[in-house]
């Protein structure tokens, strides 16, 4: 199977568009369907004659629905963030919701913890995921094993949180027993200490999402130029050096995308943390989205919540722009 490949906005290789790299059976080459990053190729022949009205009409329902469920709430959120919306009154409050944030230690810590959490998750996921992919690549059992590894990703984060809570539990948790028996942990369970709770929630994310990195890396590995590897080896390069100088640079663009996607997912999903620690003990795992949830839905400080949400959203959008840019010129570097 040499046709499996990554197509990252490869503009045109050897005179043909990127779609050559991907093949789907049953469908003749000329009309093959292929999922592809949207910003990819914009075929030149595409602009059809005739009015655009028809296409805009087709587009309209989706755009309207999206506008309705995204732009409208967005402006509403900005409005709230600029007002004091505490019980019973709506008052313009001269940006107080924003101005108070720099001195709100939980807000600042929330960012620090979010970055720390994401960095720990990503570091472990990349190291384990890439190694796993290299080890699995070309193995006889690749298919079976990869399929097995997929399972955690299919689990609802909330359920994952509850299962891991059960495993970590100091009273009846098997993982707690295991960690204790191995001498890694004392009688105190992993979520019961401010020092280890962060590791506890990181492990859950690692368990669930390392397979994604492995899958992405595997896809990347398939398109590492074999001839170059061979040539290097004939020249006496060690496998390790080969990996560093040829394989890794080829993986770099896909890994970058994986990192950004995971990073943004950490902004989006807090289900498992809400179940596992609720941000505790002592705010040790109160990453920003968890704090935001608390401010909006526990304290009902909707103005402050909206201000935090707005900042979080802006940062997400900036990250999203970077991500799209990576998509656009994510052409693999030649090693």
């Amino acid at each position: 199977m040499t046709n499996a490949s990554i197509t990252l906005a490869v503009p045109s290789q050897k005179g043909r568009p990127a779609l050559e790299l991907f093949r789907v059976r049953h469908i003749p080459d000329s009309v093959e369907s292929r999922p592809s990053s949207a910003v990819v190729a914009e075929p030149t022949s595409i602009n059809p004659p005739g009015s655009k009205r028809y296409y805009f009409l087709l587009m309209a329902p989706a755009i309207l629905v999206l506008a309705f469920i995204s732009i409208y709430p967005f402006f509403w959120m900005i409005y709230m963030s600029l007002h004091d919306v505490d019980i019973g009154k709506v008052e313009w409050n001269n940006f107080a919701n924003y101005l108070k944030l720099p001195s709100d230690t939980r807000f600042i810590m929330g960012w620090a913890l979010l970055v720390q959490y994401s960095a720990m998750c990503l570091f472990l996921q990349i190291v384990i995921g890439v190694f796993l992919a290299v080890a699995l690549n070309g193995s006889r059992f690749e298919k079976v094993l990869v399929t097995t590894l997929l399972m955690p990703m299919m689990m609802a984060p909330l359920v994952a949180g509850m299962v891991w809570y059960f495993l970590y539990n100091g009273t009846f948790g098997w993982y707690h027993w295991l960690l204790q028996s191995l001498g890694i942990l004392g009688p105190k369970s992993i979520l019961a200490s401010a020092n280890t709770a962060m590791i506890g929630i990181v492990l859950v994310d690692v368990w669930q999402w390392t397979p994604l990195i492995t899958l992405i890396t595997l896809a990347g590995l398939k398109r590492v130029p074999q001839d170059q590897l061979e040539a290097n080896m004939v020249d006496g390069a060690s496998p390790v050096r080969n990996f560093m100088s040829v394989t890794l640079p080829n993986l770099y663009p896909v890994l970058l995308i994986a990192i950004m996607l995971r990073f943004m997912d950490n902004f989006r999903f807090t289900d498992s943390i809400l179940v596992l620690t609720g941000g505790g003990p002592g705010n040790a795992t109160k990453i920003l989205p968890v704090y935001l949830f608390e401010v909006s839905f526990k304290f009902f400080k909707l103005g402050r919540g909206a201000a935090i949400a707005f900042i979080l959203l802006i940062v997400t959008i900036i990250l999203g722009m970077l991500l799209v840019r990576v998509f656009e010129r994510g052409q693999p570097k030649k090693g």
Partner: protein, 292 residues
């Protein structure tokens, strides 16, 4: 495949690597499967049996994990008394409905975006995808308000629309890639033969159908696994499985057996679906950036 033989020449280092890799893979598979296995087994245990643990360091004691009389009472309880059949139905309708709505609207939009060019198209496209990236917690309060104005809170249509907030941009983004790869010439040929534009659109749908099918499944997966929307917008008349599972944490008793059983009920269908669309999974989860 010839190239592979060249790589697999054996040195001490590569041998050691292979052994280490095999051990690591074995370890990793266990690490991956174990929580699911424990969840599965615990769903058949009585509360007190699920609490059994050997002494610290007593490795032989692991056998107590297997010493129990299997009971299906938790499953029975879920479906007979706790209304899980309704929640299962809600999950199916909400996830399925949003997937269908997203893919239908999404394919129309994606097709058009793929076929025409206009000023600001890039910005429009970025806006579409940015709505998918928005943190759920951040948009929840305003969204809740709007939904209630329309009396959609606590209803399945409301939940379907809520899931559409993240599934529709996803569908547009992915499906545009599909349509980009269907040459316009095919439609042109159809229209020369006298088909209308709409008929031409319909004619190319079969070409992208397998992909579309896979992304319907992915949309189902995303919606099915959601908790926050389900808890805040859906709960009440449209409680889904994850929200109902969370509710089993009751003041009087944490029903671990039932929670594990509910976990199995929530997870198994998705694992099955994940296998079915295995081929498209990476594409979907990386928003089209990476393909296998």
């Amino acid at each position: 495949m010839a190239s592979r033989e060249v790589i697999e020449y054996e040195t001490g280092v590569s041998k050691a690597f292979n052994v280490f890799a095999a051990v690591f893979i074995a370890f990793y598979v266990v690490w991956t499967v174990l929580p699911i296995f424990i969840m599965f087994m615990s769903s058949f245990k009585d509360l007190l049996e699920a609490f059994k643990l050997p002494e610290v360091g007593d490795w032989a004691g692991v056998k107590v994990f297997f010493e129990f009389t299997p009971t299906t009472k938790h499953y029975y309880e879920l479906f007979a008394n706790l209304g899980f059949s309704t929640y299962l139905f809600n999950s199916l309708v909400a996830a399925g409905g949003s997937a269908v709505v997203s893919v239908v609207l999404g394919s129309m939009c994606a097709y058009s975006l793929s076929r025409i060019d206009f000023r600001g198209k890039k910005d429009l496209f970025f806006w579409i995808i940015s709505t998918r990236m928005a943190p759920v917690v951040a948009v929840m309060v305003p969204l809740y308000w709007i939904f209630r104005e329309l009396e959609l809170v606590g209803t399945l249509p409301g939940l379907i629309l809520a899931y559409t907030t993240f599934n529709l941009p996803f569908a547009i983004w992915i499906l545009k890639g599909f349509f980009d790869n269907v040459p316009y010439a095919i439609e042109e040929a159809q229209m020369v033969d006298g088909a209308t534009r709409l008929q031409a659109f319909r004619a190319i749908l079969p070409l992208v159908a397998p992909g579309i099918g896979a992304f319907v499944v992915l949309c189902i997966l995303f919606a099915w696994n959601d908790y926050l929307f389900a808890a805040i917008i859906g709960s009440g008349g449209a409680k889904t499985l994850p929200a109902a599972t969370r509710e089993l944490v009751q003041p009087q008793n944490i029903q671990w057996g039932q929670i594990m059983a509910a976990g199995v009920v929530t997870t198994l269908p998705m694992m099955f679906l994940g296998l079915v669309i295995r081929k498209y999974l990476v594409t979907g989860l990386t928003m089209g950036a990476v393909k296998e």
